[in-house]
Structures are given as structure tokens and as C-alpha cells.
Amino acid sequence: MAAQYRGTSTRAPDEAAVTPGPAGAPPGAGAPAPAGPRPSRGGALAGRATPYLLILPALAATVLLLGYPLVRNVIISFQTLDAFQLIQHTTQWAGFDNYKDQLTSAEFWHTTERSIFFTLANVALIMVGGTLIGLLLNRLGKRMRLTLSLGLILAWAMPYVAATTVYQWLFDTQYGVVNWVLWKLGWHSMHDYNWFGSQFSTFAVITLMVVWQSLPFVALNLYGGLTTISTEIFEAAWMDGATPWRTFRSVLFPMLRPFFLGTTFLEIIWVFKAFTQVYALNAGGPEGLTETLPVYAFVEGVGNQHYGTGAAISVLTILILMVLMSYYFRIILKQEDEL
């Protein structure tokens, strides 16, 4: 995870963790440990218990720190848990009321719709842009490639929260450099333009920031994948008179298909659950018009102190995410013939 260097975060770095694809399976890493009992020391029973003892701490942590919060989330979503109940430490069951309220509220559906459009727009830009930059990296000379890679890594390494403050400054109404540049370019209505005053312009800034942060991962990984493909294949396609588009579609895409599928789903999941960028930039404003589902859950639950409602929204969000993840897992499990 994301962890954020996507973590979280930064999210960025842990992205690489589950990236499928032929990003260069290195020599030596490929062989899965062969099965077979090894001579156990200290008795057969102890030998058989060893693996379980070794995974026990990890398993216990997962159950306690991840499983329990998930279950608890579902429990809270069936309660009326406002400031009053919180302070009194009382439990008031609400049945399906929280869900009913949400599923019949226009705001929930608007937010869902907004989240989906936001995700689609971002992921499309990230995948297309990342692919083009990856291909470009493959074509550049060594010096220029290193330069661009350095730029990509800098953007990648930038923590989300810091990036958010920087983008606020870049798009500042009065002294922001973006408004100045647009004004200089002859777009005079952009003088003193308030980017955070309307839904569309706020989303534009968030999108630019998310795409800026996510492109390096896709581009560098694709480049990594490209280096494993022999250049002769491209030369052959070129000799046969294939256009670049045709080469990409008929040669490259099929070869890197798992990479494209896996990365697309990863990006969908990450953008869909993005919280920091959206919330820290403008707190879902103006007037909640840029709230995506995770931000909506937070604002309703914590901001307005309707924790039960917030939990119900987050359960619904997790359900959507689980559908997306099941697709993702189907893709990568197909490649991992040997776990």
C-alpha cells in the first residue's frame, strides 16, 4: 500500500509492490521455492508448527489492526452514533436506517457519480500520458532520459500534503504564477481568477495534481517493461511498414497487456479512494461540490459528527472498491501461476 508513498501517501512507492507485468523479472528471482519437506530438527511436530509460529505475528496484526476495524466499521454503520451517543457512550441501533437514508439521498448519488467521473478522467489521463512518456523515455538519448527520469522521480517523491500546499500556491488568486502566465499569454480574464471558487476549476487543479503525481509511476514502470523487450521486434515492425500506432497496438500492447491491465486497475483503485489530495486542497469545497466518496464519508462522519452515517458511506465505498479489487486480483492471479 499505499501506503501511502501512496503511500502514502504518499501513495506512490508502494504502488510498485503489486505491479504485475514484465517489469523485468530479474535473474534468480524467478524460481519459487520448491516444495518438499526438509530435515526438521527438534521433532516432526515442532517442525510442522514452525511456519505457523512464523506467520502468527503478521496474522495477529492483520486480524486485530485491519480485520477488526473493518468489522467495527460495519457495526457502526448500523448504529445511530452522533455527538450525543458518543459522549454518553450509549449504543443505539438503527437497523438499516443509515443505508436507507444514503441510498435514497440525492447527495449520495451525486457524490458517487462525481467520484466515478473524477476517477475515469484521472485514470484515462494517467494511463495515456504515462504510456506516452514511457515510450518517449525509450526513444530518448541517454542524457535526456536521465534528466527526464530525474524530473519524474522528484514529482513522484513529493509528499501529498506538501504537493497540495504547493499547488495552492501555484494557483493562488492574487500572486499565483499560473494566473500570471495565463494573463501574459493573453488570457486576460484569468487575472485574479479564483481557482477554488467553482466546482470545475477546483477539480481541474486536483486532477492536474493527481495526474502529475501518478504519471511517473506509470511512465517509469512502462519504460522498465520496454527495456526487457528486444528492439529487433520494433525494427521488424518498422521494416514491415507498420505505423507507430499500429506497432503499439499490434506488437507492444499485446506483449505488455498484463502491465496495462494491472496498472489501470491499480490506478482506478487509488484514485477512487484518494482522500488526502481532495481534502487537503480545498476540503471538498466550494460547498461540498468537490467531495468524492471518501471525503464525503469523512465530512459527514467526523465533520458533522454523524459517525453512523459516515460509517455507512464508507461501507458502501468499500463495497465499490471490493468489486474493483476483485477484477484486479483476477488479473494478477492469472499471471501468478505459482504463488
Binding site: 508502494d14 530479474p26 504547493v166 488526502t276 467526523v302
Partner: protein
């Protein structure tokens, strides 16, 4: 393949534009942090600051509670990463080197845990921590951050351990080492790049985490991401100080990233892609 002059020029030109696109926000952050106020709020932006000042950094460092939050951030980050390395090393060894019933199921759990939607679980985590009366404490943060990086750590280390030739370990066993000794003397030293890669990304994840600490901790229990967002609210239009604060926050991450990136990324592909 020979290319025309145009064919050689445009990729470089595009690359240069892209370079500016990716670097400019970072450049603007750092230069703003060093610019005197007059240059920051001038109607024509100053692109090359020749008159640097350190006053913004001074202001950022002397903001109330800064050093407490620095200490908090480092404590939480280092502890959670070390803890997860310890827990993950054991689990990764079992998964990579041993066959046992439930192994596949465990791997699946790890893979799913890796995708855990922490951003939308903050409410229930808050309730759990509140029940334990541990709000504003660093302990729950440490544990939850540990859990955030644990699946990734297990997953990556498993690949690294699998890459260590089994024969090495076996020959150590033949030479009379116990399995534990063989692990510590033979396998562990070979895992150094893997440990580095995973702790690097663990560090970055924990250092940057925002949603959870936002809801769990107030005031003296906060970490730097919160300080940064509030710094901006508190200091309003003082962009110099805000950018100095952002630079402060970013520098450790960028250093870690740049120093270890190549090693780590090759390590990542080695560890994660196939195992």
C-alpha cells in the same frame, strides 16, 4: 534506423517541456521558500531569486510545537517501520521457504491487506482507539502505520528471500549451523537491499500519512503532515513560510528517495514481480 533531423529533435523538445512540467512545482516551492516577501507578492513573479533569505525557514522552525511534531513524526515512522520489518521477516521466510497448509490463503490475505482502504476506515479506527482511551497517543499510530506497511513488506521480502539460493542455506546447515543460525549468518546479510527497499517505502508511507492522524491526534500528538496543512491555515497568505515548511517536510523524503531509488526500484522489481 536513421532518423531525420526533425525526428531527432522533437523527442528532446517534448522531454524538455515535460521535465519543466514535473520539476516546476518543486522548483517553485524551494525558490519561494528563499525569496524575500517583496519578491513573493510582486505582480511579476520572480523566477530566478538572487536575493535569498532564510527568514521563512526561521519562522517555520519557530512555529509553536514544531520540534515536538518533528520528534513525533520520526518516532512513529521509525518504530512502525522497524516493527513491520521484524514481523514481516518471519512471515516472509515462512512463505518463501516452507510449505504448509494455508500458505496460499495467507498470501491472499496479504495481497488483499495491501489494498486495504485505510482512507475510508478512519471512523472505525477512531472509535476503537477512543474505546482504549488512547487518542492523542503515538502508540496506536505506530501500530496502525505498521499495519499499513506490513503487507507490502511481507510481499517484497518474500521475493528477496526466495531469490537467495537455497543451496547456500543448505550448505550452512551441512556445516553444522542450526536453521536459525543459517538464517542470521547467510540469508539475512543477502537481504540487505530488500530490507533497504522495504524500509524506504515504509518510511515514506508512514511519514506522509494524513487521514488517520487527522482524526486520531490533536495538538501535541500530531505529526508533520498535519502541521503542514494547519501551518498554511494559521499563516494564511504567508506563502514564504508555508513553502519553507513544505520544503522542510519534503527534504527527508526526497533524500531517501534519491539515494535509494535505483537500488530500491531494482529491488522492487526483483522482489515484487515474480517470486
Amino acid at each position: 534506423m536513421r532518423r531525420s533531423l526533425f525526428g531527432r529533435v522533437w523527442p528532446n523538445a517534448v522531454a524538455l517541456v515535460l521535465f519543466v512540467f514535473f520539476v516546476f512545482p518543486v522548483y517553485w516551492m524551494v525558490t519561494t521558500a528563499f525569496k524575500p516577501d517583496l519578491d513573493i507578492i510582486s505582480t511579476t513573479p520572480v523566477f530566478l531569486p538572487f536575493h535569498g533569505t532564510l527568514s521563512h525557514f526561521d519562522k517555520a522552525v519557530h512555529a509553536s510545537g514544531f520540534w515536538t511534531l518533528v520528534r513525533n513524526s520520526f518516532t512513529v515512522t521509525v518504530c512502525s517501520v522497524l516493527l513491520s520489518l521484524l514481523v514481516a521477516l518471519a512471515a516472509a521466510f515462512a512463505v518463501a521457504r516452507m510449505r504448509f497448509r494455508g500458505r496460499k490463503a495467507f498470501i491472499l490475505v496479504v495481497m488483499m491487506a495491501q489494498m486495504a482502504p485505510w482512507e475510508v476506515m478512519t471512523i472505525s479506527v477512531y472509535m476503537i482507539v477512543r474505546d482504549q482511551d488512547m487518542l492523542n497517543s503515538l502508540l496506536p499510530l505506530t501500530f496502525f502505520y505498521m499495519m499499513m506497511v506490513l503487507p507490502f513488506t511481507i510481499w517484497t521480502l518474500r521475493g528477496f528471500i526466495a531469490a537467495v539460493p537455497k543451496e547456500l542455506e543448505e550448505s550452512a546447515l551441512m556445516d553444522g549451523c542450526t536453521r536459525l543460525q543459517a538464517f542470521f549468518r547467510v540469508v539475512l546479510p543477502l537481504l540487505a537491499p530488500g530490507l533497504m527497499a522495504t524500509s524506504l517505502f515504509g518510511f515514506i508511507t508512514a511519514w506522509n500519512e494524513y487521514p488517520l492522524v487527522l482524526i486520531l491526534n490533536k495538538e501535541s500528538g500530531q505529526t508533520l503532515p498535519l502541521w503542514l496543512t494547519q501551518f498554511q491555515t494559521n499563516f494564511g497568505d504567508d506563502w514564504g513560510a508555508t513553502m519553507a515548511a513544505s520544503s522542510f517536510f519534503t527534504v527527508p523524503v526526497v533524500i531517501v528517495f534519491l539515494v535509494l531509488q535505483r537500488r530500491a526500484v531494482s529491488g522492487l522489481t526483483a522482489g515484487a514481480v515474480k517470486g
